[in-house]
Symmetry: C2
Subunit: 190 residues, 2 copies
Amino acid sequence: MTTTDARERLVAAAQELFWAQGVGATSPRQVLAVSGVGQGSLYHHFPTKHDLAAAAVHATTAAGLDAAHRDLDASGSAVERLVRYLERPRPALAGCKVGRLVSDQAVMDDDVLAAEVRAYFRGLVDLAAAVLTEDGLPDDAARDRAHAAVAIVQGGYVLARALDDPDAMTAAARGFVALLDPGPTTPEDA
Amino acid sequence: MTTTDARERLVAAAQELFWAQGVGATSPRQVLAVSGVGQGSLYHHFPTKHDLAAAAVHATTAAGLDAAHRDLDASGSAVERLVRYLERPRPALAGCKVGRLVSDQAVMDDDVLAAEVRAYFRGLVDLAAAVLTEDGLPDDAARDRAHAAVAIVQGGYVLARALDDPDAMTAAARGFVALLDPGPTTPEDA
DNA sequence: GTCTATAAAAGGATAGAC
DNA sequence: GTCTATCCTTTTATAGAC
């Protein structure tokens, strides 16, 4: 909490702004305003916008992978853990802190940032696939279903934001979970 | 094909650029360069960037809804039509022309553009839900599953772009369809 | 309807003092 | 390490002639 404080505040402000409006749309000046840090400090700690973006995006993906591990490495059956991941409460209207970066061309045109985003999603899919394989699903089917699970979450965010309705995200998850784990109400009941 | 040609070329160029890099990140100058139209013409036809964006986004959503109708209103059983929609070949690495706008704050902060995007996704979900209801699914379950289907497509785009791998999108669709329509290889077979 | 010229503001830094 | 001042470029138009 001495002098490196400015650095941390810059990264936190950048994470917040990147989430709200994307990397390309965020100016150094905005980061200064939100962080309360002075201009000289910014360019001392991060010579270019890219340097700041790399630090902020890395912090965000690391936190996201941690959260996924907490859902998927926990106790319970394979399906239970996947459902826990799918139904975790999420800020549907704000969007996914990492997912939103994928349509930000400023991110995907930057090799370092694009690699960070790729590693995040590769980690997520691998984690989900491992859980499903445990469940006795053949490798190919497990990978397909893992991709579907991650896609449901990302697509749920897109739908919720597009429709301006958080329930759109939970509906998508429910629709998927119902297929995953045919419980009380089977289609045949109708 | 007389003088309104400039207008059409401006809209086409804007659609192309918005798809590739978003609305916020696209400048009027880029639209001029791609369309080959002069600056005076742009501001004659579209006094502000918003006016151009409204025209271009509307053209894009209209085309997208048309395509969805072609898949979902066609012949075949309900599941067949839904699978046709889910498995239609898509430009996975380029992303969804409408879906990508959802994380573009310049779009979502503009009431007209946001409404256009909302109407597109509402139309998509309603269409899918109608198909599933036909199939005998109760209304609530049909809506949930319709949200899931649209989310799979949008999430598939996100995954494919993030992983820089078009197969990620088809994997997500396969994973979902396998649950929807448990065919030859049932989980129990293992 | 289209052209060229101009301009006010924001973006992304750099310079040099402290 | 941090501050203020400055700079060049791009954005988003506007002005006025043709």
